[in-house]
C-alpha cells in the first residue's frame, strides 16, 4: 500500500511514522487534531508501539516530545497555532538545548479564523527561535516534509518547525509513501551538559545555534523543496510561500507561468534565490498564506528598493486566507462571477447540540446572575463559548485557555464582586488550575463553574485529561470542601441547582461548582460502541 488518500494532517502523521517516529505528543486544536488521531487509530503505529496519548496541554506535550528526543528517539509535538503560545517557553528553549533524537514541532495555523481566536502566523516563531521551518504546499509535500523534517532535525541537532494552514490540513489527496525507517534505540545525549540551560552552558549552546544558521540556509537552498522556475517575462517576479503556489498555478492552467517564480516552502528564506529573482525582475509579487512574513523582510522597513507587491500595499487583502480569485486579481487577471446570492439566505451559526449539558448549566447561571446585572461572567474556550450567542447570551469573555479564572480574580480585585468564571473540564486542567491557586491564595470572592462534560467536546470528543481528577485537584489546590459543590445540569433539576448556584455566588470566598453531565455526542458514541460490542459477543456466543 504505497499510495493512500489522506488529509494534509494525516499525511504529516504518516510521514512522521515512516521516518521512525516513537511518540506523538499533542493537545487537540483545530486544524491540527487529525494528525494525532490518525496515529492513535493506526494499526501500524500500535504494532510499533508509537506513543500517542493526548497531553494535558501544548506545553506538557512539547516537553514530553523533548524528553523523548533527549532519550534518543524521534518525537513530534502537534498543536494549533495558539497552542504554540502555550508551549512557547519550551519551544524557545528547546532551540537552545537542541535535540538528541529528531524532534519536529507541528503548528497548524488558521488564517481567516475558521475556528480560532486569531490568525497568528507560526513562521514568526520559527524565526524567533532561529530554527528551520517547513511549510508544505500540498499533501505529498506534507508527507515528504514530515519525513524529511525529522531527519533534518537529527542531522542538525535542532528542533524543526512544520507549519500548515487550515486548507492543507483539512484537504484530502493521494500521496505516495516512502520506505519505512526504523525507530531509534534508547541513547543518552553524548554531551551530558547539553540539556542543562544554566547560563554557563546555555551561552555555549546559543552560540552553537547561531553558528548553525548558515547551514540551515544552505539546507533551504539545496534540499530541493525551494524551487526556482525561470520565466521569460521579467517585468514581474512572483514569490510564493507554502500553498500559495497552488493558487498561482491554478491561475496558469495548463501552461507554465510567463514570469519567473520562486516557490518557497523551507526557511530560513533562501537569500541567494531571493536575490536572483529580485535582481532579474522589475518588481515582485509575494503570495503568502498568513501574515506578510517574507514580504516585510524583502521590502524592509524603509521600502526604498524595488516595488514589492503583496499584503502590505493592498494588492492582497491584509487579513484572511488566500483564494484562487484573490491571486488572480493580484496577477491582473479577470475572474469569473457566479450567481448572485439571493437575499432569502440566512446565516446558520453553530449551536450547542440539543440536550447539551451546557444549556442547562447556563440557564441556571443566567437566573442566578440576574439580580447582579450583566458583565460578570468570565468564560473560556470550548463548546460552552457558544453561550455567548443567542438565545443564551450568558458570557462576557473568551480570550485564551484558562483566562476565565484569572480574569475573574483580577476583576474581583478591581471591585467587580461577585465575579464568576466558567470553564470546561479539559480547559481547566489545560490552564485553569494555576489561576484557581491564585484565587485561593488571595481568598478572592469568585465562583468557578467547571462545566464537566467529561470530554474535549469542541474538537470532536477526545479524552479529557481531567477525567476522574477534578474534585481531587480542586481540593488539593485548597478550595474549602463545603464550597466544592457538584450538580447535575438537567432541566428537571433547575430549581435545585439554582439554589446551589445562588448560595455559592453569595459566598465571599472561592467556591467551585462542578456541573457534571456527559456530552451527548460522546455519550451517543459510547452507547453505540457498547451496543455493537454486545452484538459482537452475542454473535460469538450464538455461533
Amino acid at each position: 500500500m504505497n499510495k493512500i488518500l489522506v488529509l494534509g494532517d494525516e499525511a504529516i502523521a504518516q510521514g512522521a511514522m515512516d521516518a521512525g517516529l516513537s511518540g506523538v505528543y499533542a493537545y487537540p486544536g483545530t486544524p491540527s487534531t487529525e494528525i494525532t488521531e490518525y496515529i492513535q487509530k493506526s494499526k501500524e503505529a500500535k504494532e510499533k508501539g508509537v506513543v500517542s496519548t493526548w497531553a494535558t496541554n501544548e506545553k506538557t506535550a512539547l516537553e514530553g516530545a523533548l524528553g523523548m528526543s533527549y532519550a534518543g528517539k524521534k518525537a513530534m509535538a502537534c498543536m494549533k497555532h495558539v497552542g504554540l503560545n502555550v508551549a512557547a517557553d519550551a519551544f524557545m528553549n528547546a532551540a537552545i538545548t537542541g535535540t538528541n533524537g529528531g524532534l519536529m514541532v507541528v503548528s497548524a495555523d488558521d488564517p481567516s479564523m475558521h475556528s480560532s481566536q486569531n490568525e497568528q502566523d507560526s513562521r514568526f516563531y520559527g524565526k524567533f527561535a532561529m530554527i528551520p521551518v517547513l511549510e508544505p504546499s500540498n499533501q505529498q509535500e506534507a508527507y515528504d516534509m514530515a519525513y524529511y523534517g525529522i531527519q533534518l532535525s537529527e542531522k542538525m541537532g535542532i528542533p524543526v518547525l512544520l507549519r500548515v494552514t487550515t486548507r492543507l490540513a483539512h484537504s484530502r489527496s493521494v500521496i505516495e509513501r516512502k520506505p519505512q525507517l526504523p525507530q531509534n534505540k534508547l541513547s543518552l545525549p553524548s554531551n551530558p551538559k547539553q540539556f542543562i540551560l544554566l547560563p554557563v552552558f546555555a551561552k555555549k549552546n546559543y552560540s552553537g545555534l547561531l553558528g548553525k544558521q548558515a547551514a540551515f540556509e544552505t539546507e533551504a537552498e539545496k534540499s530541493g523543496f525551494n524551487k526556482y522556475f525561470e520565466g521569460k517575462d521579467k517585468s514581474l517576479g512572483i514569490i510564493t510561500c507554502g500553498l500559495a503556489y497552488n493558487y498561482l498555478m491554478e491561475n496558469c492552467q495548463d501552461k507554465e507561468p510567463e514570469h519567473p517564480v520562486l516557490k518557497i516552502t523551507q526557511y530560513p528564506a533562501p537569500s541567494e534565490m531571493i536575490n536572483k529573482i529580485y535582481e532579474e525582475t522589475d518588481e515582485l509579487l509575494v503570495l503568502e498564506e498568513g501574515y506578510p512574513f517574507l514580504e516585510e523582510q524583502i521590502r524592509g522597513l524603509l521600502n526604498k528598493g524595488k516595488k514589492v507587491k503583496g499584503r502590505l500595499d493592498g494588492t492582497i487583502p491584509r487579513s484572511g486566507e488566500l483564494t484562487p480569485n484573490i491571486v488572480a486579481k493580484a496577477l491582473g487577471m479577470s475572474v469569473n462571477k457566479g450567481y448572485e446570492i439571493p437575499s432569502v439566505l440566512r446565516g446558520r451559526p453553530p449551536v450547542l447540540c440539543a440536550g447539551c449539558p451546557h444549556i442547562d448549566s447556563f440557564e441556571a447561571l443566567n437566573d442566578a446572575m440576574a439580580p447582579y446585572g450583566r458583565g460578570r461572567v468570565f468564560s473560556d474556550i470550548g463548546c460552552y463559548t457558544l453561550a455567548a450567542l443567542k438565545p443564551l447570551e450568558a458570557i462576557n469573555t473568551c480570550v485564551d485557555m484558562g483566562a476565565s479564572i484569572s480574569m475573574a480574580v483580577g476583576a474581583a480585585d478591581a471591585g467587580l464582586v461577585p465575579s464568576v468564571a466558567v470553564i470546561g473540564d479539559s480547559t481547566f486542567t489545560h490552564s485553569g488550575m494555576t489561576g484557581l491557586l491564585d484565587a485561593v491564595n488571595k481568598k478572592s470572592p469568585v465562583t468557578v463553574f467547571i462545566l464537566d462534560n467529561s470530554t474535549v467536546g469542541m474538537t470532536g470528543g477526545q479524552h479529557s485529561a481531567a477525567l476522574g481528577h477534578i474534585e481531587g485537584i480542586v481540593k488539593g489546590i485548597g478550595v474549602e470542601e463545603e464550597h466544592i459543590r457538584i450538580v447535575k445540569p438537567l432541566r428537571r433539576l433547575h430549581d435545585e441547582n439554582l439554589k446551589v448556584y445562588k448560595e455559592e455566588i453569595e459566598y465571599k470566598g472561592v467556591s467551585v461548582i462542578i456541573a457534571r453531565r456527559e456530552c451527548v455526542q460522546t455519550l451517543n458514541r459510547r452507547m453505540k460502541l457498547k451496543f455493537a460490542n454486545k452484538k459482537k459477543t452475542q454473535n460469538v456466543v450464538n455461533n
Binding site: 475556528s115 484537504s171 484530502r172 432569502v344 470532536g460
Partner: protein, 194 residues
C-alpha cells in the same frame, strides 16, 4: 475531464459521505482528486461545505475558484443557495434536496427558497427524504441526492455503485442493497426531471 463540485449541508447530514463516495469512484476511474473539508467549529448544527475537485490532470488549488464550480450538491435547500456565487453561470448544475432542516429561528418561507432554486436554469430539486424512505430508510437521503447528481458528475454510474459497495460493505449486505436502491432512485429521478 474535470469537475469541480461544492457540497453543502448542515453538520451531521452526511455530505462527507457523499464526498467520500465520489472520491472513491474517481480514484477507481484513475482520476486525480483534491477534497477540502470543513472540520471543527462549524460542525455543531452549523452550515458545512466541502470542495471536491476531480480531474484527469493533477489538481492544483484545494479550493474551487469562485464562479467556476460545475456543480453544487446540497442535502438541504437553504444551504444550496449559500454557495451560488461559486457556481459557473454558463453550465453549472444545482442539485439539491427539497427537505428543509429548520434549526434556526429565522428560516425563510420554503416556497421563497424553492423559487430561488428554480431560477437557476440547470437544477434538480428532489424530495430525497421521501424517495429514501421508499428505498428503505430516510437515512439514505444523502445517497438519493448523490444519485440525482450522478448524471452530471462525469464518472460512469457503475463506479459509483462500486464505491457504495466498498464503503458500506462492512455495515452488511442489507445496507449496501438499500443504498444502491437509493442511488438508483435518485439517478432515475434526475434523468427524468433535468
Amino acid at each position: 475531464m474535470k469537475k469541480d463540485i461544492i457540497l453543502g449541508g448542515v453538520g451531521g447530514q452526511g455530505i462527507l459521505t457523499i464526498a467520500a463516495l465520489i472520491a472513491t469512484a474517481a480514484l477507481k476511474k484513475g482520476l486525480y482528486i483534491k477534497q477540502s473539508e470543513v472540520h471543527g467549529m462549524s460542525q455543531r448544527g452549523g452550515d458545512v461545505q466541502a470542495n471536491l475537485r476531480i480531474s484527469s490532470k493533477p489538481v492544483m488549488s484545494d479550493l474551487i475558484p469562485e464562479g467556476k464550480a460545475d456543480m453544487i450538491i446540497a442535502v438541504e435547500p437553504l444551504e444550496s443557495l449559500r454557495y451560488l456565487n461559486m457556481l459557473d453561470k454558463n453550465n453549472g448544475w444545482l442539485i439539491t434536496s427539497s427537505n428543509p432542516f429548520n434549526n434556526i429561528p429565522d428560516y425563510p418561507d420554503i416556497e421563497e427558497v424553492y423559487n430561488e432554486i428554480r431560477k437557476i436554469p440547470r437544477h434538480v430539486l428532489i424530495d430525497a427524504n421521501e424517495i429514501a424512505k421508499q428505498a428503505g430508510s430516510v437515512k439514505a437521503a444523502n445517497i438519493v441526492v448523490l444519485g440525482a447528481s450522478a448524471p452530471f458528475i462525469g464518472i460512469e454510474y457503475n463506479y459509483l455503485e462500486d464505491a457504495i459497495k466498498d464503503i458500506f460493505s462492512r455495515k452488511g449486505e442489507d445496507i449496501v442493497e438499500m443504498n444502491l436502491k437509493a442511488l438508483k432512485a435518485g439517478y432515475d429521478f434526475a434523468r427524468e426531471n433535468k
